[in-house]
Symmetry: C5
Subunit: 99 residues, 5 copies
Protein backbone atom coordinates (compact mmCIF):
# COMPACT_ATOMS: atom_id res chain seq x y z
CA UNK A 1 0.00 0.00 0.00
CA UNK A 2 1.01 3.59 -0.37
CA UNK A 3 0.11 6.78 1.43
CA UNK A 4 -1.88 9.26 -0.61
CA UNK A 5 -3.62 12.59 -0.27
CA UNK A 6 -7.09 13.03 -1.71
CA UNK A 7 -6.85 15.98 -4.11
CA UNK A 8 -9.86 15.55 -6.33
CA UNK A 9 -12.80 13.69 -7.74
CA UNK A 10 -13.84 12.49 -11.13
CA UNK A 11 -17.21 12.19 -12.86
CA UNK A 12 -17.83 9.63 -15.60
CA UNK A 13 -21.38 8.93 -16.70
CA UNK A 14 -20.51 6.70 -19.66
CA UNK A 15 -18.79 3.68 -18.14
CA UNK A 16 -18.68 -0.08 -17.75
CA UNK A 17 -22.03 -0.83 -16.00
CA UNK A 18 -20.40 -2.71 -13.10
CA UNK A 19 -18.80 0.57 -12.00
CA UNK A 20 -22.14 2.19 -11.14
CA UNK A 21 -22.18 3.57 -7.64
CA UNK A 22 -18.41 3.67 -7.17
CA UNK A 23 -16.93 7.04 -6.22
CA UNK A 24 -13.56 7.77 -7.80
CA UNK A 25 -10.95 9.83 -5.99
CA UNK A 26 -7.82 11.42 -7.44
CA UNK A 27 -4.87 10.76 -5.13
CA UNK A 28 -1.39 12.26 -5.01
CA UNK A 29 1.06 9.67 -3.74
CA UNK A 30 2.98 10.64 -0.60
CA UNK A 31 6.33 9.24 0.50
CA UNK A 32 7.07 7.90 3.99
CA UNK A 33 7.75 11.46 5.23
CA UNK A 34 4.46 12.76 3.82
CA UNK A 35 5.89 14.63 0.81
CA UNK A 36 4.28 14.27 -2.64
CA UNK A 37 6.28 11.92 -4.88
CA UNK A 38 4.90 13.20 -8.18
CA UNK A 39 2.94 9.98 -8.80
CA UNK A 40 -0.85 9.88 -8.69
CA UNK A 41 -3.63 7.35 -8.92
CA UNK A 42 -7.37 7.30 -9.43
CA UNK A 43 -8.90 4.94 -6.86
CA UNK A 44 -12.35 3.81 -5.81
CA UNK A 45 -13.37 5.05 -2.39
CA UNK A 46 -14.23 2.27 0.08
CA UNK A 47 -14.20 4.39 3.24
CA UNK A 48 -15.77 7.78 2.51
CA UNK A 49 -12.54 9.78 2.41
CA UNK A 50 -12.75 13.55 1.98
CA UNK A 51 -10.71 16.14 0.10
CA UNK A 52 -7.33 16.76 1.75
CA UNK A 53 -7.34 13.61 3.87
CA UNK A 54 -4.31 11.33 4.04
CA UNK A 55 -5.31 7.80 3.12
CA UNK A 56 -3.87 4.36 2.55
CA UNK A 57 -4.56 2.89 -0.87
CA UNK A 58 -3.97 -0.52 -2.40
CA UNK A 59 -3.43 -1.24 -6.07
CA UNK A 60 -3.66 -4.24 -8.36
CA UNK A 61 -5.93 -7.19 -7.61
CA UNK A 62 -6.00 -6.15 -3.92
CA UNK A 63 -8.26 -3.30 -5.01
CA UNK A 64 -11.08 -5.76 -5.67
CA UNK A 65 -11.01 -7.28 -2.17
CA UNK A 66 -13.66 -4.98 -0.76
CA UNK A 67 -17.42 -5.41 -0.85
CA UNK A 68 -17.73 -2.30 -3.01
CA UNK A 69 -15.16 -3.28 -5.62
CA UNK A 70 -15.53 -7.07 -5.80
CA UNK A 71 -15.28 -8.34 -9.41
CA UNK A 72 -15.27 -4.82 -10.82
CA UNK A 73 -12.63 -3.52 -13.25
CA UNK A 74 -10.93 -1.51 -10.54
CA UNK A 75 -7.17 -1.46 -9.85
CA UNK A 76 -6.97 1.04 -7.01
CA UNK A 77 -8.92 1.42 -3.77
CA UNK A 78 -8.76 3.74 -0.77
CA UNK A 79 -9.11 1.28 2.10
CA UNK A 80 -8.21 3.37 5.16
CA UNK A 81 -8.08 6.96 6.40
CA UNK A 82 -4.77 7.49 8.16
CA UNK A 83 -4.76 8.87 11.72
CA UNK A 84 -1.07 8.76 12.52
CA UNK A 85 2.23 7.87 10.89
CA UNK A 86 5.25 7.37 13.10
CA UNK A 87 8.70 7.16 11.48
CA UNK A 88 11.71 6.19 13.62
CA UNK A 89 9.81 7.03 16.78
CA UNK A 90 8.72 10.48 15.59
CA UNK A 91 5.11 11.36 14.78
CA UNK A 92 5.37 12.60 11.17
CA UNK A 93 1.62 12.82 10.56
CA UNK A 94 -1.18 13.35 13.04
CA UNK A 95 -4.66 13.84 11.63
CA UNK A 96 -5.89 15.33 14.91
CA UNK A 97 -3.43 18.22 14.56
CA UNK A 98 -4.00 18.80 10.85
CA UNK A 99 -7.77 18.48 10.71
Amino acid sequence: MYLGKVVGTLVATHKEPSLDGLKFLVLKQLDAEGEETGAYRVAADAVGAGLGEVVLYATGSAARQTVLTHERPCDGVVMAIVDQVEINGELTYNKAEVG
Copy 2:
Protein backbone atom coordinates in the same frame (compact mmCIF):
# COMPACT_ATOMS: atom_id res chain seq x y z
CA MET B 1 -6.74 3.65 -12.57
CA TYR B 2 -5.13 6.37 -14.57
CA LEU B 3 -6.42 9.13 -16.80
CA GLY B 4 -5.56 8.72 -20.47
CA LYS B 5 -6.23 10.37 -23.79
CA VAL B 6 -7.18 8.21 -26.77
CA VAL B 7 -4.60 9.01 -29.46
CA GLY B 8 -4.84 6.05 -31.80
CA THR B 9 -5.95 2.60 -32.81
CA LEU B 10 -4.22 -0.61 -33.71
CA VAL B 11 -5.04 -3.35 -36.19
CA ALA B 12 -3.84 -6.91 -35.68
CA THR B 13 -5.32 -9.70 -37.79
CA HIS B 14 -2.96 -12.45 -36.63
CA LYS B 15 -3.66 -12.85 -32.91
CA GLU B 16 -4.66 -15.14 -30.07
CA PRO B 17 -8.20 -16.27 -31.09
CA SER B 18 -9.79 -15.16 -27.81
CA LEU B 19 -8.98 -11.54 -28.74
CA ASP B 20 -11.36 -11.55 -31.73
CA GLY B 21 -13.78 -8.67 -31.59
CA LEU B 22 -11.81 -6.56 -29.12
CA LYS B 23 -10.97 -3.03 -30.24
CA PHE B 24 -7.54 -1.82 -29.13
CA LEU B 25 -6.92 1.83 -28.34
CA VAL B 26 -3.57 3.58 -27.95
CA LEU B 27 -3.65 5.82 -24.87
CA LYS B 28 -1.30 8.54 -23.68
CA GLN B 29 -1.30 8.66 -19.90
CA LEU B 30 -2.32 11.98 -18.35
CA ASP B 31 -1.39 13.22 -14.90
CA ALA B 32 -3.87 14.59 -12.36
CA GLU B 33 -3.68 18.03 -14.03
CA GLY B 34 -4.37 16.58 -17.49
CA GLU B 35 -0.82 16.85 -18.87
CA GLU B 36 0.75 13.92 -20.75
CA THR B 37 3.22 12.02 -18.55
CA GLY B 38 5.16 10.39 -21.37
CA ALA B 39 3.79 6.92 -20.56
CA TYR B 40 1.36 5.14 -22.86
CA ARG B 41 -0.70 1.95 -22.92
CA VAL B 42 -2.60 -0.13 -25.42
CA ALA B 43 -5.97 -1.02 -23.89
CA ALA B 44 -9.11 -2.84 -24.94
CA ASP B 45 -12.11 -0.58 -25.34
CA ALA B 46 -15.08 -1.51 -23.14
CA VAL B 47 -17.04 1.73 -23.59
CA GLY B 48 -16.77 2.89 -27.21
CA ALA B 49 -14.31 5.72 -26.61
CA GLY B 50 -13.35 7.95 -29.53
CA LEU B 51 -10.15 9.65 -30.67
CA GLY B 52 -9.23 12.57 -28.42
CA GLU B 53 -11.47 11.60 -25.54
CA VAL B 54 -10.20 11.58 -21.94
CA VAL B 55 -10.81 8.19 -20.39
CA LEU B 56 -10.19 6.20 -17.24
CA TYR B 57 -8.29 2.96 -17.75
CA ALA B 58 -7.44 0.07 -15.47
CA THR B 59 -4.45 -2.22 -15.80
CA GLY B 60 -3.46 -5.65 -14.59
CA SER B 61 -6.01 -8.31 -13.72
CA ALA B 62 -8.66 -5.58 -13.30
CA ALA B 63 -8.64 -5.31 -17.09
CA ARG B 64 -10.35 -8.68 -17.36
CA GLN B 65 -13.29 -7.75 -15.11
CA THR B 66 -15.54 -6.64 -17.95
CA VAL B 67 -17.86 -8.77 -20.06
CA LEU B 68 -15.78 -8.00 -23.15
CA THR B 69 -12.40 -8.89 -21.67
CA HIS B 70 -13.25 -11.76 -19.29
CA GLU B 71 -10.59 -14.52 -19.42
CA ARG B 72 -8.81 -12.90 -22.35
CA PRO B 73 -5.06 -12.12 -22.38
CA CYS B 74 -5.71 -8.43 -21.84
CA ASP B 75 -3.90 -6.24 -19.26
CA GLY B 76 -5.45 -2.85 -19.98
CA VAL B 77 -9.05 -1.71 -20.42
CA VAL B 78 -10.77 1.62 -20.98
CA MET B 79 -13.68 1.39 -18.56
CA ALA B 80 -15.05 4.93 -18.47
CA ILE B 81 -15.19 8.13 -20.50
CA VAL B 82 -14.41 11.04 -18.20
CA ASP B 83 -16.85 13.98 -18.03
CA GLN B 84 -15.20 16.09 -15.37
CA VAL B 85 -12.12 16.15 -13.17
CA GLU B 86 -12.05 18.45 -10.19
CA ILE B 87 -8.75 19.04 -8.39
CA ASN B 88 -8.73 21.02 -5.12
CA GLY B 89 -12.14 22.43 -5.89
CA GLU B 90 -11.21 23.62 -9.39
CA LEU B 91 -12.63 22.05 -12.55
CA THR B 92 -9.47 21.01 -14.43
CA TYR B 93 -11.25 19.03 -17.16
CA ASN B 94 -14.75 19.45 -18.50
CA LYS B 95 -15.71 17.34 -21.50
CA ALA B 96 -18.68 19.61 -22.26
CA GLU B 97 -16.32 22.55 -22.87
CA VAL B 98 -13.73 20.59 -24.82
CA GLY B 99 -15.97 18.49 -27.02
Copy 3:
Protein backbone atom coordinates in the same frame (compact mmCIF):
# COMPACT_ATOMS: atom_id res chain seq x y z
CA MET C 1 -0.56 -4.06 -23.46
CA TYR C 2 2.52 -2.57 -25.01
CA LEU C 3 3.98 -2.54 -28.48
CA GLY C 4 7.23 -4.46 -28.85
CA LYS C 5 9.69 -5.50 -31.50
CA VAL C 6 10.95 -9.08 -31.55
CA VAL C 7 14.75 -8.83 -31.34
CA GLY C 8 15.80 -12.24 -30.16
CA THR C 9 15.21 -15.67 -28.78
CA LEU C 10 16.30 -17.56 -25.72
CA VAL C 11 17.16 -21.20 -25.11
CA ALA C 12 16.79 -22.79 -21.67
CA THR C 13 16.94 -26.56 -21.35
CA HIS C 14 16.95 -26.67 -17.54
CA LYS C 15 13.60 -25.22 -16.51
CA GLU C 16 10.36 -25.67 -14.60
CA PRO C 17 8.73 -28.67 -16.39
CA SER C 18 5.47 -26.81 -17.09
CA LEU C 19 7.41 -24.51 -19.44
CA ASP C 20 8.22 -27.30 -21.91
CA GLY C 21 7.21 -26.40 -25.42
CA LEU C 22 6.94 -22.65 -24.85
CA LYS C 23 9.03 -20.47 -27.14
CA PHE C 24 10.53 -17.40 -25.49
CA LEU C 25 11.04 -14.18 -27.40
CA VAL C 26 13.13 -11.19 -26.38
CA LEU C 27 11.18 -7.98 -27.01
CA LYS C 28 12.27 -4.36 -27.07
CA GLN C 29 9.41 -2.16 -25.91
CA LEU C 30 8.26 0.48 -28.39
CA ASP C 31 6.44 3.70 -27.56
CA ALA C 32 3.25 4.88 -29.28
CA GLU C 33 5.32 6.37 -32.12
CA GLY C 34 7.25 3.12 -32.65
CA GLU C 35 10.54 4.22 -31.06
CA GLU C 36 12.36 1.93 -28.60
CA THR C 37 11.82 3.03 -24.99
CA GLY C 38 14.83 1.25 -23.53
CA ALA C 39 12.69 -1.31 -21.70
CA TYR C 40 12.60 -4.95 -22.72
CA ARG C 41 10.73 -8.12 -21.80
CA VAL C 42 11.06 -11.85 -22.33
CA ALA C 43 7.66 -13.21 -23.35
CA ALA C 44 6.15 -16.52 -24.39
CA ASP C 45 5.08 -16.62 -28.02
CA ALA C 46 1.38 -17.43 -28.53
CA VAL C 47 1.17 -16.40 -32.20
CA GLY C 48 4.33 -17.50 -34.02
CA ALA C 49 5.95 -14.06 -34.26
CA GLY C 50 9.21 -13.72 -36.16
CA LEU C 51 12.40 -11.69 -35.69
CA GLY C 52 11.83 -8.00 -36.45
CA GLU C 53 8.05 -8.12 -36.24
CA VAL C 54 6.09 -5.53 -34.27
CA VAL C 55 3.84 -7.26 -31.77
CA LEU C 56 1.42 -6.58 -28.95
CA TYR C 57 2.32 -8.16 -25.63
CA ALA C 58 0.53 -8.46 -22.32
CA THR C 59 2.16 -8.78 -18.92
CA GLY C 60 1.15 -9.99 -15.49
CA SER C 61 -1.61 -12.52 -14.96
CA ALA C 62 -3.00 -11.68 -18.42
CA ALA C 63 -0.05 -13.58 -19.83
CA ARG C 64 -1.56 -16.85 -18.64
CA GLN C 65 -4.90 -16.36 -20.43
CA THR C 66 -3.88 -18.23 -23.55
CA VAL C 67 -4.13 -21.97 -24.21
CA LEU C 68 -0.33 -22.19 -24.43
CA THR C 69 0.44 -20.37 -21.20
CA HIS C 70 -2.48 -21.40 -18.95
CA GLU C 71 -1.31 -22.11 -15.36
CA ARG C 72 2.34 -21.80 -16.30
CA PRO C 73 4.82 -19.50 -14.49
CA CYS C 74 4.75 -16.98 -17.30
CA ASP C 75 4.33 -13.20 -16.87
CA GLY C 76 4.61 -12.02 -20.47
CA VAL C 77 2.97 -13.19 -23.69
CA VAL C 78 3.00 -12.05 -27.31
CA MET C 79 -0.67 -12.24 -28.19
CA ALA C 80 -0.88 -10.41 -31.54
CA ILE C 81 1.23 -9.44 -34.53
CA VAL C 82 0.54 -5.79 -35.33
CA ASP C 83 -0.51 -4.86 -38.89
CA GLN C 84 -1.11 -1.16 -38.48
CA VAL C 85 -0.87 1.57 -35.85
CA GLU C 86 -2.66 4.84 -36.47
CA ILE C 87 -1.89 7.81 -34.22
CA ASN C 88 -3.99 10.98 -34.53
CA GLY C 89 -5.21 9.90 -37.94
CA GLU C 90 -1.74 9.21 -39.30
CA LEU C 91 -0.50 5.68 -40.13
CA THR C 92 2.67 5.43 -38.01
CA TYR C 93 3.27 1.73 -38.62
CA ASN C 94 2.23 -0.40 -41.58
CA LYS C 95 3.52 -3.96 -41.68
CA ALA C 96 2.73 -4.24 -45.40
CA GLU C 97 5.23 -1.46 -46.16
CA VAL C 98 7.92 -2.65 -43.78
CA GLY C 99 7.84 -6.40 -44.43
Copy 4:
Protein backbone atom coordinates in the same frame (compact mmCIF):
# COMPACT_ATOMS: atom_id res chain seq x y z
CA MET D 1 10.37 -9.98 -3.14
CA TYR D 2 12.46 -7.06 -2.01
CA LEU D 3 14.56 -6.34 1.04
CA GLY D 4 13.20 -3.61 3.27
CA LYS D 5 13.93 -1.92 6.57
CA VAL D 6 11.09 -1.31 9.00
CA VAL D 7 11.11 2.45 9.69
CA GLY D 8 7.67 3.10 11.03
CA THR D 9 4.10 2.24 11.79
CA LEU D 10 0.74 3.60 10.83
CA VAL D 11 -2.54 3.93 12.67
CA ALA D 12 -5.88 4.00 10.83
CA THR D 13 -9.09 3.58 12.81
CA HIS D 14 -11.49 4.34 9.95
CA LYS D 15 -10.89 1.55 7.41
CA GLU D 16 -12.34 -1.28 5.36
CA PRO D 17 -13.65 -3.71 8.05
CA SER D 18 -11.71 -6.69 6.70
CA LEU D 19 -8.47 -4.91 7.68
CA ASP D 20 -9.22 -5.08 11.41
CA GLY D 21 -6.38 -6.61 13.35
CA LEU D 22 -3.72 -6.12 10.66
CA LYS D 23 -0.62 -4.20 11.73
CA PHE D 24 0.79 -1.90 9.05
CA LEU D 25 4.51 -1.26 8.80
CA VAL D 26 6.26 1.48 6.82
CA LEU D 27 9.23 -0.01 4.93
CA LYS D 28 12.13 1.64 3.16
CA GLN D 29 13.22 -0.53 0.24
CA LEU D 30 16.85 -1.69 0.34
CA ASP D 31 18.94 -2.74 -2.65
CA ALA D 32 20.97 -5.97 -2.84
CA GLU D 33 23.84 -4.27 -0.97
CA GLY D 34 21.54 -3.05 1.82
CA GLU D 35 21.39 0.62 0.80
CA GLU D 36 18.07 2.47 0.70
CA THR D 37 16.78 2.84 -2.86
CA GLY D 38 14.43 5.75 -2.15
CA ALA D 39 11.32 3.62 -2.64
CA TYR D 40 9.02 2.71 0.23
CA ARG D 41 5.97 0.60 0.87
CA VAL D 42 3.33 0.17 3.53
CA ALA D 43 2.90 -3.55 4.23
CA ALA D 44 0.91 -5.77 6.57
CA ASP D 45 3.04 -7.54 9.13
CA ALA D 46 2.77 -11.34 9.03
CA VAL D 47 5.80 -12.11 11.22
CA GLY D 48 5.97 -9.61 14.09
CA ALA D 49 8.83 -7.51 12.70
CA GLY D 50 10.21 -4.69 14.80
CA LEU D 51 11.49 -1.17 14.10
CA GLY D 52 14.90 -1.25 12.40
CA GLU D 53 14.73 -4.88 11.33
CA VAL D 54 15.64 -5.95 7.79
CA VAL D 55 12.78 -7.91 6.29
CA LEU D 56 11.65 -9.57 3.08
CA TYR D 57 8.38 -8.31 1.68
CA ALA D 58 6.17 -9.43 -1.17
CA THR D 59 3.83 -7.24 -3.18
CA GLY D 60 0.82 -7.71 -5.40
CA SER D 61 -1.47 -10.71 -5.06
CA ALA D 62 1.30 -12.60 -3.25
CA ALA D 63 0.58 -10.36 -0.28
CA ARG D 64 -2.73 -12.13 0.28
CA GLN D 65 -1.20 -15.62 0.51
CA THR D 66 -0.82 -15.57 4.28
CA VAL D 67 -3.40 -16.57 6.88
CA LEU D 68 -3.49 -12.98 8.17
CA THR D 69 -4.01 -11.29 4.80
CA HIS D 70 -6.15 -13.83 2.92
CA GLU D 71 -8.89 -12.10 0.86
CA ARG D 72 -8.12 -8.71 2.37
CA PRO D 73 -7.44 -5.58 0.27
CA CYS D 74 -3.72 -5.77 0.98
CA ASP D 75 -0.97 -5.47 -1.65
CA GLY D 76 2.15 -5.73 0.52
CA VAL D 77 3.18 -8.15 3.26
CA VAL D 78 6.27 -8.64 5.40
CA MET D 79 6.71 -12.41 5.23
CA ALA D 80 10.18 -12.96 6.70
CA ILE D 81 12.74 -11.36 8.99
CA VAL D 82 16.14 -11.57 7.32
CA ASP D 83 19.04 -13.14 9.24
CA GLN D 84 21.78 -13.03 6.62
CA VAL D 85 22.35 -11.82 3.07
CA GLU D 86 25.37 -13.11 1.19
CA ILE D 87 26.36 -11.42 -2.08
CA ASN D 88 29.10 -12.98 -4.23
CA GLY D 89 30.33 -15.02 -1.27
CA GLU D 90 30.54 -12.04 1.08
CA LEU D 91 28.23 -11.60 4.08
CA THR D 92 26.68 -8.17 3.42
CA TYR D 93 24.10 -8.34 6.19
CA ASN D 94 24.22 -10.29 9.44
CA LYS D 95 21.41 -9.67 11.91
CA ALA D 96 23.45 -11.22 14.74
CA GLU D 97 26.09 -8.48 14.39
CA VAL D 98 23.65 -5.62 13.95
CA GLY D 99 21.10 -6.51 16.59
Copy 5:
Protein backbone atom coordinates in the same frame (compact mmCIF):
# COMPACT_ATOMS: atom_id res chain seq x y z
CA MET E 1 10.01 -12.49 -17.63
CA TYR E 2 13.39 -10.87 -17.25
CA LEU E 3 16.95 -12.09 -17.46
CA GLY E 4 18.84 -12.07 -14.18
CA LYS E 5 22.16 -13.10 -12.73
CA VAL E 6 22.25 -14.97 -9.44
CA VAL E 7 24.47 -12.89 -7.15
CA GLY E 8 23.53 -14.07 -3.70
CA THR E 9 21.41 -15.92 -1.21
CA LEU E 10 19.37 -14.98 1.80
CA VAL E 11 18.69 -16.72 5.10
CA ALA E 12 15.52 -16.05 7.08
CA THR E 13 14.60 -18.36 9.93
CA HIS E 14 11.68 -16.32 11.26
CA LYS E 15 9.12 -16.34 8.44
CA GLU E 16 5.59 -17.11 7.31
CA PRO E 17 5.36 -20.93 7.82
CA SER E 18 4.28 -21.61 4.21
CA LEU E 19 7.71 -20.42 3.07
CA ASP E 20 9.54 -23.31 4.75
CA GLY E 21 11.79 -25.15 2.35
CA LEU E 22 11.94 -22.38 -0.27
CA LYS E 23 15.43 -21.20 -1.22
CA PHE E 24 15.69 -17.47 -1.88
CA LEU E 25 18.11 -16.10 -4.45
CA VAL E 26 19.22 -12.50 -4.89
CA LEU E 27 19.15 -11.59 -8.60
CA LYS E 28 20.59 -8.63 -10.47
CA GLN E 29 18.39 -7.83 -13.45
CA LEU E 30 20.11 -7.96 -16.85
CA ASP E 31 19.01 -6.16 -20.00
CA ALA E 32 18.60 -7.82 -23.39
CA GLU E 33 22.33 -7.41 -24.06
CA GLY E 34 23.28 -9.01 -20.72
CA GLU E 35 24.28 -5.82 -18.88
CA GLU E 36 23.06 -5.15 -15.33
CA THR E 37 20.20 -2.64 -15.28
CA GLY E 38 20.57 -1.62 -11.65
CA ALA E 39 17.36 -3.36 -10.61
CA TYR E 40 17.34 -6.48 -8.44
CA ARG E 41 14.86 -8.98 -7.09
CA VAL E 42 14.72 -11.67 -4.43
CA ALA E 43 13.14 -14.78 -5.96
CA ALA E 44 12.36 -18.33 -4.93
CA ASP E 45 14.45 -20.92 -6.71
CA ALA E 46 12.43 -23.51 -8.65
CA VAL E 47 15.30 -24.94 -10.70
CA GLY E 48 18.40 -25.23 -8.52
CA ALA E 49 20.26 -22.24 -9.97
CA GLY E 50 23.79 -21.52 -8.76
CA LEU E 51 25.79 -18.36 -8.04
CA GLY E 52 26.77 -16.55 -11.23
CA GLU E 53 24.26 -18.30 -13.47
CA VAL E 54 22.07 -16.37 -15.89
CA VAL E 55 18.44 -17.21 -15.29
CA LEU E 56 14.94 -16.31 -16.39
CA TYR E 57 12.65 -15.12 -13.64
CA ALA E 58 8.94 -14.33 -13.48
CA THR E 59 7.27 -11.88 -11.13
CA GLY E 60 3.80 -11.26 -9.81
CA SER E 61 1.20 -14.00 -9.61
CA ALA E 62 3.15 -16.01 -12.20
CA ALA E 63 5.65 -16.71 -9.44
CA ARG E 64 3.14 -18.98 -7.72
CA GLN E 65 2.57 -21.22 -10.76
CA THR E 66 5.21 -23.76 -9.79
CA VAL E 67 4.80 -26.81 -7.55
CA LEU E 68 7.25 -25.27 -5.07
CA THR E 69 5.61 -21.86 -4.81
CA HIS E 70 1.90 -22.68 -5.21
CA GLU E 71 -0.26 -20.61 -2.81
CA ARG E 72 2.77 -19.19 -1.02
CA PRO E 73 3.35 -15.45 -0.49
CA CYS E 74 5.97 -15.34 -3.19
CA ASP E 75 6.15 -12.73 -5.98
CA GLY E 76 9.32 -13.82 -7.80
CA VAL E 77 10.54 -17.17 -9.05
CA VAL E 78 13.54 -18.39 -11.01
CA MET E 79 11.93 -20.76 -13.51
CA ALA E 80 14.72 -21.47 -15.99
CA ILE E 81 18.51 -21.47 -16.31
CA VAL E 82 19.44 -19.76 -19.57
CA ASP E 83 21.70 -21.59 -22.05
CA GLN E 84 21.76 -19.12 -24.91
CA VAL E 85 20.43 -15.70 -25.82
CA GLU E 86 20.47 -14.65 -29.46
CA ILE E 87 19.80 -11.00 -30.33
CA ASN E 88 19.39 -10.00 -33.99
CA GLY E 89 21.04 -13.23 -35.12
CA GLU E 90 24.07 -12.81 -32.85
CA LEU E 91 24.76 -15.08 -29.86
CA THR E 92 25.02 -12.58 -27.00
CA TYR E 93 25.13 -15.15 -24.20
CA ASN E 94 26.33 -18.76 -24.34
CA LYS E 95 26.48 -20.63 -21.05
CA ALA E 96 28.79 -23.28 -22.54
CA GLU E 97 31.46 -20.62 -23.15
CA VAL E 98 31.04 -18.84 -19.83
CA GLY E 99 30.75 -21.80 -17.48
